[in-house]
Symmetry: C2
Subunit: 437 residues, 2 copies
């Protein structure tokens, strides 16, 4: 049974600017759903298993809103190029290898293993154009206990022959074949339409993707306004639209009953930002990636102030680290450099905001995810900061800030996704009976 309590120092975002802390309290998982946080164990639940994480922090799960699983093999390599050169030199040669299922298995097993070790509980993931290895990745993620969206990449131009789908019609058929292959195969891993970006997709492929989006009620993920050279190229490829975002809009891919993720939005114009807001698009802010490829720094606070959905992405392998702690820290750090070097109209992000983006902000793409308020999916990360030794007393707010700057996989003592233990001693619940029972 999927009903239990965790005891510890519970912390979550109530909104973008506020954190709630409940020292030595209980958070209840009732059949995979959070039934609230209590300072005193609620009578209603007496008798359920209770795991006491002592002085650890108990945090909601973290969502990585943009990550390329097929690039994990070369994380931290070739960081001396800008986007288009980097794609041609590093990315496409690697992605070709995923036609070979045995290579894909070796690579994806490492990716899923490492993802499991960290704080990430949910992710929106790019694979490659290959159906079989994409299904394999989805299987591995499902087995590991993740809830995730995975997208087989669609692209039919401006890429090497072995990755280039043979015309828009073939590419749309391949996407549809894969969508059907997913049906009834996975419980928690869902397909998401994934046209790589405008430069890799002909107009007809884009129109076909919009058609599939409507037909199958699917979400969609892609890239937008990452790099100045890329933006200029889109202008050449789509001379009849006013901007990069409008190109997506023109083909109808932003419309639909399921939300869209656009990674980056570093250089979005005011009109493009308005479009993102109107269409309810989620911006995946990828500070590490945007730094490594020297793309720039997205105006995150502007998007938040406009009411645009924003979450954080590792963007492996333009980003080098899967760690959501490190991505939160770099979101704050980048916002400071943006403020200092180029635009003092936007204040730097604060700890509260970075934590919000990594939990509720990205989690909202999955629904009620990223908080311990009642009714949210029970995703939890137990953070043990005892190895980050300190000679003086720290408040819970200070301990959380320190985790953002200093924690890594070692500090993730346990992890739960929809009430299922996926990492840590508590695997195979119940471990300990609630002593109050």
């Amino acid at each position: 049974m999927n009903t239990f309590a965790l005891k510890g120092n519970i912390c979550f975002s109530t909104d973008r600017e506020h954190l709630s802390f409940f020292p030595h309290s209980y958070v209840i998982c009732d059949n995979g759903v959070c039934a609230g946080v209590y300072q005193k164990f609620p009578d209603k639940y007496i008798g359920i298993p209770c795991i006491d994480y002592k002085d650890c922090l108990v945090l909601p799960g973290f969502t990585d809103l943009h990550v390329h699983a097929s690039q994990y093999a070369f994380r931290g390599l070739g960081m001396d190029l800008e986007l288009i050169d980097w794609l041609n030199t590093r990315t496409f040669p690697e992605e070709q290898k995923y036609e070979d299922l045995s290579y894909a298995r070796r690579a994806y097993e490492i990716f899923v293993h490492d993802l499991l070790e960290g704080a990430t509980t949910r992710a929106c993931i790019f694979s490659t154009v290959h159906e079989e290895s994409t299904l394999l990745l989805m299987e591995l993620l499902e087995q590991a206990g993740f809830h995730a969206y995975v997208g087989k990449v669609s692209m039919d131009r401006n890429c090497p022959e072995h990755l280039c789908e043979k015309g828009a019609e073939a590419a749309v058929q391949a996407a549809e074949h894969w969508i059907r292959a997913c049906a009834d195969r996975f419980h928690n891993i869902k397909p998401i339409l994934t046209p790589r970006f405008i430069p890799s997709c002909t107009d007809n492929l884009m129109r076909g993707i919009a058609f599939l989006r409507e037909k199958y009620h699917l979400s969609l993920q892609s890239h937008l306004s990452e790099n100045l050279g890329e933006i200029a190229w889109v202008k050449e490829l789509c001379p009849d639209v006013g901007g990069y975002g409008e190109a997506y809009e023109k083909f109808g891919v932003l419309e639909g009953d399921r939300p869209v993720i656009m990674a980056h939005c570093v250089h979005s114009t005011p009109e493009e930002a308005e479009l993102l807001k109107r269409r309810g698009v989620f911006v995946a802010h990828c500070p590490q990636s945007n730094t490594n490829l020297a793309s720039g720094i997205a105006p995150v606070r502007k998007y938040l102030d406009m009411g645009i959905h924003v979450g954080l992405g590792s963007d492996i392998a333009a980003g080098h680290s899967l760690s959501m702690f490190r991505i939160m820290a770099e979101a704050i750090q980048c916002s400071k450099l943006r403020w200092r070097l180029s635009d003092q109209s936007l204040e730097p992000l604060r700890v509260e905001e970075a934590f919000y983006l990594a939990t509720r902000g990205g989690g909202a793409f999955f629904g009620k995810v990223g908080s311990f308020e009642k009714g949210f999916a029970f995703d939890a990360v137990v953070a043990d900061d005892s190895a980050l030794r300190c000679p003086c007393h720290l408040t819970l707010r200070e301990r959380l800030e320190r985790l953002i700057y200093l924690a890594d996989d070692r500090h993730v003592a346990a992890k739960y996704i929809v009430g299922r233990a996926v990492k840590g001693q508590a695997e195979g619940l119940p471990l300990r009976k609630n002593t109050l029972a």
Copy 2:
């Protein structure tokens, strides 16, 4: 006996732009001094112990050119302030605690333990104004096997009463008393004069420090042109000089037969840069700190092109991490954002350059340090990257790049300082006899 060989994939900087790689080779430590790298074991040394680190990388030691040991307790905390507010709110209240020797012991033991776990072999360290706890820190560092400079801070204005030395004369006497207390007490830990920065030091204190520098032939460390508010303040305090660097020059502290370290130099004018070059000053570039306090990004390439000495500093606790890997990565990352956001005249730093800065660049402050060329002090870091799994073959250059972006303490398998094993299995050499013997 301090003569042995290490076997592994040996890598070091030959100059700022070039790395040398010697796969499965030997580096010889002859009585604490590097006797060169050999692909075949040299006949001359047959019989000495040889430790085979298999497929690990063997790197020179790393120098942290600017770190405040007394701030380590609050690393990763209070990162929402700029320099002066941060000093008053976070730093000074913490530094007052080091009057209490038992607190200092608890705090410094953690600092030294964590420093030992990472890749740092040499460091230039600030303590506080307190003599006793400074001597304790020096003892702990000596016991751990480090070679380091440690500075008792001098300051006599613009700081809380309990940290403020009572007049220039008393402050100079306190510095001299401490210098004498160090004499013959430590083998490898040396005192370094440490006037905090112009705003904390009266003119007479600065003149007294210059006097001590000449009298005792000491090095000196301080801060320069970190933050715009700080620079404006220095201008008010020293209205008769043209700039911040000139203030130090005016009091004579830059002159001397031992080199000076100036941390930051984010906003140095061309005249100030010329002064740094003329006086042979080492710039401690602290990218993480300069980001966290929103100070800006130093023009490192300009300094290198001018022939100024540059090394890297963690600048704990304005920087949050002691990891030299992370500091190298952030040096590259910051240089990219500087290029993108504010000045395309300076190309971003490359992997080769970041590695050079962290090894030879900062190491030069200690003499022949930071390389495996013959005659250099034998400082070595054995990096085991096997846990950074990869499905494909990587070159040594790629593995080094990946370490810079992804490694942490876990990947430091062993560490040697002047031929003494301070971390890792090889402690208590000789462990294994050379099979060639």
